[in-house]
């Protein structure tokens, strides 16, 4: 299954085409809508006030409610656009956005309004595609869940049992420990109040893979496959499996996961490897954490340059932006992981 996302923040529509999705899936459009609602904007103080309807239309690939196996095209029309907000940014790249890199890549022809094709808005079709992927995975007993693992240094409780993530998915603010969640919200709102933003991280778990998927080789190894999907999510700057960066601080005797037999199955007692050895699944949950940078759009004045003259410009970004993208990114990371999981399973 291959997904192709198209569209710009301020164009007529955004969407995704899924090629190679298997036939015969009774597509649950309500589930797609619910997943989209999880990343929806404008519903609480820690996300942008911009409203997105995100009504998904199926253009092809579904007949009498079931997938046909032919390309599945999903479309979302754009609304609520304030394109005038962006005119001032045409030749003044916002720091740490794709504006400058995109300007050079496109020879100056990029759609600069609202980030254009770089916009976080493009994660809506990704979530829609991911919801299709999740529905396909569940038929194979594979399940994807995630939670905010930290925001601005405030960590969620450690994940003991992947099943705990099922309840998290229902929450407005997807953490295991709601008290920690309140602290995180306070940190977000404090930053917002100062015209600033904060970063954080998301932990994601995929359960139900059989052991033996993947390869040590380039192009087929599990970590590399997931990373390719995850880094395509805006704001993701790091991907770490299992114990992650802490492995650099460990000895082998700590980091190694001893084998044992539990309920008649060979398992590892710990899962520092994040379910992957030698690039291949070992039957334990695949676990990874992504680092998400602080929202690049901040109200505080920043230094930029006029691309025409090279003159320094003091830039203040108006418009409506998330002071922290992490809460809304939880279903997006799940979507990317779900698409990667389909590829790994040969779906």
């Amino acid at each position: 299954m291959r997904h192709t996302i198209f569209g710009e923040s301020h164009g007529p529509a955004i969407g995704v085409v899924l090629e190679g999705a298997p036939a015969g899936l009774e597509l649950d459009l309500d589930r797609i809508a619910r997943e989209l609602a999880r990343r929806a904007t404008g519903k609480n103080p820690w996300s942008t006030a911009r409203k997105e309807a995100d009504q998904v239309q199926v253009l092809s690939g579904v007949f009498e409610g079931k997938t046909t196996g032919d390309p599945l095209a999903l479309l979302i029309f754009n609304e609520d656009q304030h394109s005038r907000d962006y005119e001032a940014l045409r030749f003044t790249p916002r720091p740490s956005h794709g504006d400058y890199a995109g300007f050079l890549k496109s020879g100056g022809c990029l759609d600069y309004r609202g980030g254009g094709h770089f916009s976080g808005r493009l994660t809506a079709p990704l979530v829609a595609a991911g919801s299709v992927a999740k529905q396909l995975l569940e038929r194979r007993g594979v399940w994807v869940g995630a939670h905010i693992s930290a925001i601005y240094g405030i960590s969620d409780a450690g994940l003991e049992d992947p099943e705990d993530l099922r309840a998290v998915a229902e929450k407005d603010f997807p953490v295991l420990d709601d008290a920690k969640g309140e602290e995180m919200k306070a940190a977000i709102l404090e930053a917002k109040g100062e015209g600033d933003s904060v970063g954080g991280s998301i932990e994601c778990v995929v359960t139900g893979f059989p052991a033996g998927l993947g390869s040590p080789d380039f192009g087929r190894n599990v970590e590399g496959l997931f990373a390719q999907y995850l880094f395509a999510v805006p704001a993701v700057k790091g991907v770490d499996f299992g114990a992650g960066v802490a492995l650099a601080l460990m000895r082998g005797s700590e980091a190694n996961d001893p084998f044992e037999v539990r309920d008649g199955r060979i398992v590892t007692r710990t899962n520092h490897a994040g379910g992957v050895n030698g690039g291949i699944t070992n039957g334990m949950p695949v676990v990874f954490e992504v680092t998400m940078r602080p929202t690049a759009s901040i109200a505080r004045p920043q230094e930029s340059v006029d691309l025409r003259t090279g003159e320094p410009v003091e830039l203040s970004i108006h418009g409506r932006h998330d002071p922290c993208v992490v809460p809304r990114a939880v279903p997006v990371i799940e979507a990317a992981a779900a698409l990667a999981s389909c590829t790994l399973l040969g779906i």
Copy 2:
């Protein structure tokens, strides 16, 4: 350019085929040999006593000293094999190795001797391929360097100027600050003395990319591309760009890289983004850090399971192993980064 690595630790030979390498490169075989010497074993107390000759033979793709553009096949014959060491491991998977995952993937048909195709030995052809890639990159003004950034919690000095990495490449123990290097060595030897191993991290920098390479889209974005190559290196469990995991602790006003004009060029004052915005190069050095887990092979007794009976087995791994793979992995990470860089440049 596409590389395909083949071979097993205890088979007759290992090698790599490079398809799509451009014609007309005067191939410097001495440089390949020097790169291989950087990852060579047996030369000092912190690496394995196993000796590998690593003599590269060119089988195809070079004529009268120059690449022809046809597939370039490089072969290294295996020597100094102690295959008997491994017989006991046939049905007893070593914790945190690919043994168990590979056993299931292959239906029990894997070459279990010395890790087979999973062996770190397979990084030799990767380094050879990477050396070809580096030679191609230099014609385009692109340069790759790396250093040990930390071992077991002991950090190298921060990298101020990528140029400083040129001297590091010449060192036996590739760090910026040799005093820190001595501390690292001591930590490695201490672990070794206790039959244990340690993990660490490597920072890598690629300079000379023009701005505008890559894409925000899946399959073409810079971070995803590099990650795919890096996670195919054994023991790599995390890949983090720019300020990396620290971005989760930052505010936007800290993390954002302000634009300025320096020497007539638009640059960013800081490089927390690691040279990539929106999945596209921004003209600053591409910087990332990989986390490498501690060597899984340790002399200390470990718990495993007999795959035939499910009975617990206490396993002691004999043989000759690196107590820390990080020092020898520096040229390997450079090689992976060089191959990724070629792909990014369309070489």
Copy 3:
């Protein structure tokens, strides 16, 4: 550049997404419309009476009239559907259509109305994509033209000069020799009158390639690349380069193309190789002929089987169908060739 076509004949819309199209092309929508008009239906007695508006909407990838380099999505809404015509065909596969193969592939979930995703209607977005490709090619001096080379055994005049195809593109019935065209039309109408259809062939030429593109290797060779695009056009059953099947009747001394210098350039006197030697362009026009089977939909009674019961069924296909797809397929073959040409040039 990678194209993904989606949609079904009787669904809400059909379309195409072009990923990787270069930025900065001033997209000529009128040219797209003109190309679509060349394959339009209902305008003369030798094509189906079904009318297709084929109004293309740009959903993304174009800003201020120029391509941005981001995915370019083109949409065509469906109209004039007589879906009831098809109900009888649900479990009765039409001979030599994709119905039966598609039924098994989809586990019975295919959209059987009007051929669904198998419909010739899906060549409309292909022609739209091909028009974008042609516009990109022309900036590189590459030009694609085609003509009907034969219908039901009646051959067009031989092509002396590729330039002659420019005038052919303007014709309602795209042949070099209009007298031959009249004979072809008569053959089509005669078959139509008998509730039958006829096959034919199209010759296509691409001029302007530099010598040296492609490779003898699998996955990169010129003929294989073109064939992959051409066989994805419905009804194409054969692809033959240069002198084509006649090469089987030749001696080497006839078939070989002698080199000579003309106007200071090395050329071949003849072009029996169709511009490709060893899988690589040799600087001569790339020439090939595709064989197109007769339209599978015919009014005459045919034998089929009820997929539920296995009982024989006499099938009569009503509805509106082309008695010969060859005339309308000329711009479709050009489109496929244009997309292949972009890939070959690395566009």
Copy 4:
């Protein structure tokens, strides 16, 4: 499974790496040797006098006689090279060879000796890879066979039953009708006597595919997939499925394959579609014919050009060449078809 062929006619070795071959196949090396013997040279008057030992060495991917699922590398060392024969050709491209196209592609750096990487000799590793593919296919009940369908206008008997091809594979001159074979040999020897060569065609059949494999879409359709493998065989200039070019001469009522039930299975009475409808297998044998041009190397004087001066050169090709490649190409076409079949089956 992905194959990568490397090597040059006069280099140290040629070979192939097969990535993604499934584990657990008991690899029959004798069968590989037998397949290679079918394309071997020097054994009769209608093939070149050049002798090739073609001893295959397994470098990796096989352990204790079974495939491991890791990359399978097969090597054949080169012998019996008369490199001096070629010095005169360095700057004088042989008509209809890859010399000129390859010279430009490589910027003059190609290995011009004996065709280098363009040499028909590179079909030896292809046959070896194809033999592995055939062994994998047979476990799935899929079988590949072929015969010479015509040489220089002399046609073999029509193929009634694919099973008849089993006996053909054992023959020195692989035709159904040996009397026709004698006529073909006479035509070859007559051409050889006149310093010339002849072309021909090969018909190939793959039996045992289930219905429902493939797709109408670009990149997944059956004809396009096979064509990509087949055109990578040197000298193949045309690929035609089922009734092939004759479809252009047919009416729909003749060309359509009526459905019927035979032995409880839905089949088509005829197989003009060559087992493929709408780009998908329909359960009938996949049948196609390839056109092979006459050997480009002929003893008769030919016109060429000195690449340095542009002066005309009269070229006489000495050395040892097949006056017709068709007989030896039969196992090569089978090999290409076997590799394509593995891809189609997802092996």
